[in-house]
């Protein structure tokens, strides 16, 4: 759970009641609480946390601002149960959280949150939720201390500047053809030498005859790439070629 919360204003509770509020003696069963962000600010919600006080069901609606600037109310949580049995105490004073993954729509670019509280039981004098907090999504480059080499191992799918190298998709297609060729070679094994295959723009892949596939990553694809980037070095695309026992292929880097 993130500790960051977004500063927001919780408006006073509004009662929804049929009939005249002053003359009607029965207690209301629906309350609405609006939580608004400062004007102009939007948030991508990760979590909404609060402390329950005898509310049985809660629905959450969000005022989302889409790309054009128009705002629209959408329901992201419908009748979420906080008290399994509204007449009894179970769950009545629990701390609850509603997470992004539970919501029906993506809670992004939200300017306002509306909590609709329902308590159908007449056993309780009052009900509400307290301590409402909205937690925003954490960004990728947050202050988490991940060492450099750990991010080296994760393959980030980036559309990076190719610097004259061919498109990976076309290369992989031609590699597929080469693989088919090796299959053919395997089935018709001869003692004649194969000759050299010359493929442009493919990084070096050294394949040994023995058991393990030993793959060295190309040292440098282009030196300019390393210098211009900040942060960890992203390894560009490399290709595996499945190994066959009697066939060795050497390709060279252009």
């Amino acid at each position: 759970m993130s500790v960051n919360t977004v500063p927001c204003t919780v408006k006073p509770t509004v009662t929804l009641q049929i009939g005249d509020a002053e003359t009607d003696s029965s207690r209301p069963g629906v309350y609405v609480i609006d939580v608004t962000l400062p004007i102009g600010q939007t948030v991508n919600i990760q979590e909404i946390s609060f402390k329950n006080y005898y509310t049985a069901y809660v629905s959450v609606r969000l005022l989302r601002r889409d790309g054009e600037g128009a705002a629209k109310w959408v329901t992201c949580l419908r009748n979420h149960c906080l008290m399994p049995s509204p007449h009894t105490e179970e769950g009545s004073q629990d701390y609850c959280s509603v997470y992004r993954q539970q919501m029906l729509i993506e809670p992004d670019n939200v300017t306002s949150v509306r909590l609709i509280l329902r308590q159908p039981s007449s056993a309780w004098l009052n009900f509400s939720v307290e301590d409402i907090k909205i937690h925003p999504c954490l960004n990728e480059d947050s202050e988490w201390d991940i060492p450099d080499w750990l991010s080296d191992l994760t393959q980030v799918d980036q559309l990076c500047d190719l610097q004259g190298l061919p498109d990976p998709q076309t290369v992989s297609c031609s590699i597929q053809q080469m693989w088919a060729l090796t299959e053919v070679m395997q089935t018709n094994q001869t003692t004649a030498s194969i000759g050299r295959f010359d493929v442009r723009g493919v990084p070096i892949v050294y394949l040994h005859m023995e058991s393990n596939v030993h793959i060295t990553f190309p040292a440098v694809v282009g030196e300019k790439d390393l210098e211009s980037k900040e942060g960890p070095v992203m390894l560009h695309h490399f290709l595996f070629i499945y190994w066959l026992n009697n066939v060795s292929i050497q390709t060279s880097l252009r």
């Binding site: 759970m1 004073q93 629990d94 701390y95 056993a123 309780w124 009900f127 060492p147």
Partner: protein, 527 residues
């Protein structure tokens, strides 16, 4: 404890992780950072070390915090309802106040070291403490005969008063009679189960299933039952023993089965632990020992079944007061152990110590939790460890104000409410009549439930009841039995006209057979 981890990828050397009793978060993060700084560390090593590291963390925590929301404070995890926490705190304050006033009025310290002569004498007389005057081993001969000790720190009636006065400030308890009005004394709207739900939960007690306590009286040879039982004892399968216990345990094997269910061992280290506690008793005298002496003399010694075990009771209870391992149960008990300060340093936290050392102040009737176990175990260390386990699992719930049903074990508040609801639903005429004559059923049944019927039923029946408590891991069956007793004597109760005569009808339960009553109430009631 040393944990040596070797790098499987032939990293030079190996590193040793020392596991301390309480591994702090700082140490843990240090381990992590040291791992990451190693140069040739590969992902596979990290993955292989992960189970070791998680083992480190789990081993170091002696009692896990309860699962709860990250924003919830720890007292909320133990007891979510604010008014119950408040009631518990007030109750504890009153008890501590009376203990402190007893201490100051009588001029006796909370703890004192025994002189060498007294220690020697007590060691010699350890097995016969019951034969002496109760005041012999306390700092003042007059204490135990003091009038003020005749009303113990807290008594049963005090407990029930606290529960009856529990009110939820947000609950609409208007006085008009309505469909949902509750006639009983407990006015807290906790969850309870009705009979159809209980029929499902207690399906092993149904009329068509054989029960020990009923069917063994028909002289059917034990045969298969005994075989299953010895097999269980041999296989040391605790869960299977618990399941088996739901239908009752054979008398000869009950001791082993209970020890198996409670995971209570009698290894040399347990015996040594008990000996250490015994040494603690000999060296120091605590004020609460007087409460124990008085309680044993008033309750167990006067009981026809248990008076022979007086010595055992002293040996167990005095050691229990000094056992700090019991403090671990406060991680899920919403009560707070009382603290005392070294003389002159009141309020300074570094000089605070839990008093009594186990955090539990004995009360009137406490010895009745131990007494039935004396029939099963004759070795004091074994008896002690079984009793301690039963206390931290079940009996502590009978003496604290809590609403949370963790693992389906109910506290005394839920038990009382369950009893009243069952009675109101299935015996409304009886309940109404008793209410009218001023004999609220809870006033009679409370003392049964708070002692789990110990001292009221005959011992063989009591042990059959406790078999089911262990088997279902819940005290709920106690509330069911209380309602079943009322149902059994309903005809007589309908004719009484006052509280005293109602109590007289229900005074003697020693002839009752527990299992038929429960079976009839749960499975033969027309709903």
């Amino acid at each position: 404890m040393l944990l040596i981890v070797e790098d499987p990828t032939a990293f030079t050397g190996c590193f040793v992780i020392h596991l301390f009793e309480e591994i702090s978060l700082l140490t843990f993060s240090f381990l992590f950072s040291s791992l990451f700084s190693l140069p040739s560390l590969s992902l596979s090593l990290f993955h292989s070390l992960l189970p070791f590291l998680s083992l480190l963390l789990t081993l170091s925590l002696s009692s896990q915090p309860l699962p709860s929301h990250p924003a919830a404070p720890p007292e909320h995890a133990k007891e979510p309802l604010a008014y119950m926490r408040k009631a518990q705190v007030n109750w504890e304050k009153r008890i501590l106040k009376s203990l402190n006033s007893m201490c100051t009025e009588l001029g006796v310290p909370l703890a004192r070291k025994r002189p060498a002569v007294e220690q020697k004498e007590l060691t010699n007389k350890w097995n016969e403490m019951g034969t002496d005057e109760p005041g012999k081993w306390t700092s003042s001969q007059s204490i135990c005969s003091d009038r003020r000790l005749n009303t113990p720190s807290y008594s049963i009636s005090h407990d029930s008063q606290v529960l009856i006065s529990l009110r939820n400030p947000n609950h609409d308890s208007s006085e008009e009679a309505s469909a949902k009005s509750h006639w009983g004394l407990i006015q807290v709207p906790l969850h309870d189960r009705d009979i159809p739900q209980m029929r499902e939960a207690y399906s092993e007690l149904s009329l068509t299933t054989g029960q020990l306590g009923i069917d063994d009286h028909t002289h059917v040879p034990p045969g298969k039952t005994r075989l299953i039982c010895t097999e269980l004892a041999f296989c040391q399968d605790s869960a299977a023993a618990q399941q088996y216990s739901r239908q009752g345990c054979p008398t000869g094997l009950r001791a082993d089965l209970w020890a198996l269910i409670l995971n209570s061992t009698n290894e040399p280290e347990d015996v040594m632990h008990y000996e250490q506690l015994k040494a603690g008793v000999i060296h120091h005298d605590l004020l609460v020992d007087n409460l124990i002496y008085k309680d044993v003399k008033l309750t167990a010694s006067n009981d026809d079944y248990y008076f022979v075990f007086e010595d055992f009771l002293y040996q167990v209870l005095l050691c229990f007061s000094r056992d700090t391992a019991v403090l671990e149960h406060f991680s899920y008990n919403s009560a707070t152990p009382p603290k005392s300060y070294i003389q002159g340093k009141v309020g300074v936290e570094e000089f605070a110590v839990v008093y009594p050392p186990n955090g539990v102040i004995p009360f009137h009737g406490f010895s009745m939790y131990v007494a039935p176990l004396c029939f099963l175990y004759n070795e004091p260390s074994k008896l002690y460890s079984v009793f301690r386990e039963m206390y931290v699992r079940y009996f502590f719930r009978l003496v604290c104000v809590c609403s949370k049903c963790v693992y389906t074990v109910c506290g005394i508040v839920s038990l009382c409410l369950q009893f009243e609801r069952l009675l109101q639903t299935h015996l409304p005429q009886l309940f109404y009549h008793l209410r009218e004559i001023g004999a609220q059923p809870l006033r009679i049944a409370f003392k049964w439930m708070v002692r789990a019927f110990s001292g009221y039923l005959s011992t063989d029946q009591l042990l059959l009841l406790w078999d089911r408590i262990l088997g279902y891991d819940s005290l709920e069956i106690v509330a069911v039995l209380a309602a079943a007793v009322f149902a059994f004597r309903a005809e007589n109760l309908m004719e009484v006209t006052s509280l005293t005569s109602a109590e007289a009808v229900l005074a003697d339960l020693s002839t009752l057979k527990v299992m038929p009553l429960i079976q009839i109430f749960l499975f033969a009631t027309v709903i």
